[in-house]
């Protein structure tokens, strides 16, 4: 340890106010704090009232992201091998998945860090650890067949417009990873939704195609017409409840498995990083909205109305969104009671968008971004209430 300390101490003068590499000071600082505890206090959120500091705090999020990432790699590989007629043994599948997913992750980190370092150098603030999380979250929300340059454009938009123009980590209104995804969704709709983007063929495919047509459970459900029963439609194409829960179906890379997201959510809550109030609120929101819609279901009505609410929890990206995106400590409200409202509204909006808007098969991205917008207002309302009570008590 002493030796590493000496290396940093001897190099520090080059990166300080008058040194020759002062532009790169944030880079130096980021490397140093990988090894040593920084001797400074932060001035803006996320504040951590714990023996964790921000860098260690973000490490827990990375740890919690391991289950969906590993499963995502496996599932992407499996879907790809199956669609292109390759062998389905574990090593081939995993290798194929890694070939598709790892380049996306690397592009996301490389491009995102480029912008981080650029802004950190120009505005003289330290490189934020938050990007370690954003850079991994972003590719996990993408369809596996998305071209690498689009991933680069998306993460650039997320980091620059979603975060840096507001002043960097802690001041962003929206979750940067979701902002990047929303940008891609509206800029290149054909590459981000539809039936042909969810399975990537990869470079070893026998046929020379980029993507193979294969619909997600949500897309299959949209095919159901009035009078149909969505559960049986899904059953017919092989999407049983167990399969939906475990996540072995085409979808965005990290978002298919509700089980892995549940494991991640438990790690986050136990580590004190994510708020259990938001997650529980979101699940309640989905469940109650689903039950209320069930009351209006009938043979003439939209078949979505009759869907049992737990299907909404295990299909599509809801589990991933509520566990990792909605609990982002920067863009979620900071006060305890309104976190319930925030989570509940995300759940409700997700179901409403899925049920009533066939143009957007998945609603969780819109729901979270929309509620991010309201989180300062929710905080404000709770503070107002608390202050009012305090004056009455005096």
């Amino acid at each position: 340890m002493k030796m590493i300390q000496k290396i940093f101490d001897s190099q520090r003068k080059h990166f300080e106010e008058k040194g020759k590499f002062r532009m790169l000071h944030p880079l130096f600082e980021a490397t140093e704090t990988f090894f040593f505890f920084p001797g400074i206090l932060i001035k803006n959120s996320p504040f951590v009232r714990d023996n964790l500091d921000m860098k260690r705090f973000m490490s827990f999020v990375i740890l919690a992201l391991i289950p969906p990432s590993v499963f995502g790699i496996y599932n992407t590989g499996w879907q790809s091998c199956k669609a292109t007629g390759m062998s389905l043994d574990f090593s081939t599948v995993f290798f194929q998945g890694a070939l598709i997913v790892l380049p996306l992750v690397m592009v996301s980190y490389a491009v995102g860090f480029f912008w981080e370092i650029l802004f950190a150098s120009l505005r003289k603030h330290p490189i934020s650890e938050g990007f370690l999380v954003t850079g991994l979250l972003f590719p996990l929300t993408l369809p596996p067949s998305v071209p690498l340059w689009q991933a680069a454009v998306g993460i650039s938009f997320g980091v620059v417009i979603g975060k840096e123009v507001f002043g960097g980590t802690g001041r962003n209104i929206f979750n940067p990873a979701l902002t990047g995804r929303a940008f891609l969704f509206f800029a290149y709709p054909t590459k981000m939704s539809g039936d042909s983007v969810w399975v990537a063929a990869g470079s070893f495919a026998k046929e020379a195609v980029d993507a193979v047509s294969s619909a997600t459970p949500l897309a299959f459900s949209n095919l159901a017409v009035a009078g149909d029963n969505i559960e049986s439609v899904l059953e017919k194409v092989g999407f049983t409840v167990t399969k939906l829960f475990l996540g072995g179906y085409p979808g965005s890379i990290g978002g298919t498995s509700a089980l892995c997201c549940l494991v991640g959510a438990i790690i986050l809550v136990l580590a004190g990083v994510a708020s259990y109030r938001i997650i529980a609120g979101g699940i309640l929101g989905v469940y109650i909205t689903g039950l209320v819609l069930n009351l209006f279901a009938g043979p003439q009505a939209n078949p979505w109305m009759a869907l049992p609410p737990f299907y909404h929890l295990i299909m599509g990206g809801f589990a991933f969104g509520i566990a990792y995106m909605a609990t982002d400590p920067v863009s979620a409200p900071g006060m305890d009671h309104v976190k319930w409202i925030y989570g509940f509204a995300i759940g409700t909006l997700t179901v409403l968008i899925r049920v009533f808007n066939p143009a957007y098969p998945e609603g969780v991205m819109m729901a979270i971004l929309f509620m991010n917008l309201f989180s300062p207002l929710l905080d404000h309302i709770e503070i107002k209430f608390k202050l009012k009570n305090r004056i009455l008590n005096v």
Binding site: V153, V165, F186
Partner: protein
């Protein structure tokens, strides 16, 4: 206030560049800049109204009673807007269709009323004309620039007037435009980025 006529003209081109320095008249800036052609056309129409109303307000500035001056300015501006609307219908009908409701809305563009109130009603005819022309040309250039920016990113083309223009996708076939930029959110993002650039360049 002792500026020469040339200074009155040039201040509109940078110092008081309407949408970016004064941050006025944002409605057409956000609404019509889906292509460079639309931006320039809107800018030229506004310049005409701005210059003509500045001249007339400046001529009548000693006759108009101060208490009803705003109403009088609006009548003057509205007359010129009708003139420009008929001119567009007669000579540039496709552009008129594209700009649509934004042409009558020049009446309520705060730049036009703002220059009448803040400048033309207090200054002589020569400097008022220079001011109107300068601000108008600055407005046209800003709209054209924002329109070009959005059109290049959003459609991959650049139309200057009618059929005159470039199709960038034929030059760079691998460039894929994102339609997002010609829709409403693209206007706000484009305006924000241009404001950022203008502020970064500074005086």
């Amino acid at each position: 206030m002792a500026k020469s006529i040339v200074q009155e003209f040039t201040k509109g081109l940078w110092e008081e560049l309407p949408p970016f320095r004064l941050v006025l008249g944002l409605c057409p800036v956000l609404g019509v800049t889906t292509s460079m052609e639309n931006g320039l056309g809107m800018g030229v129409a506004t310049t005409f109204v701005l210059a003509c109303s500045n001249i007339l307000v400046s001529l009548l500035r000693n006759i108009i009673p101060p208490k009803v001056r705003i109403a009088c300015f609006i009548i003057i501006i509205a007359s010129f807007v009708i003139v420009v609307e008929h001119l567009l219908q007669a000579y540039a009908y496709p552009l008129f269709l594209k700009l649509g409701v934004f042409i009558p809305l020049i009446v309520v563009n705060c730049i036009v009323l703002g220059r009448a109130e803040a400048f033309a009603s207090k200054n002589g005819i020569a400097s008022s004309t220079a001011d109107g022309m300068g601000i108008g040309i600055g407005f046209t250039l800003s709209l054209g620039a924002l329109g070009a920016f959005r059109e290049i990113l959003g459609k991959g083309s650049l139309t200057i007037w009618g059929d005159l223009g470039y199709n960038l996708t034929s030059v760079f076939p691998s460039f894929q435009p994102f339609e997002f930029m010609v829709q409403a959110p693209g206007a706000f993002i484009g305006l924000g980025l241009m404001l950022c650039a203008i502020n970064a360049i500074g005086d």
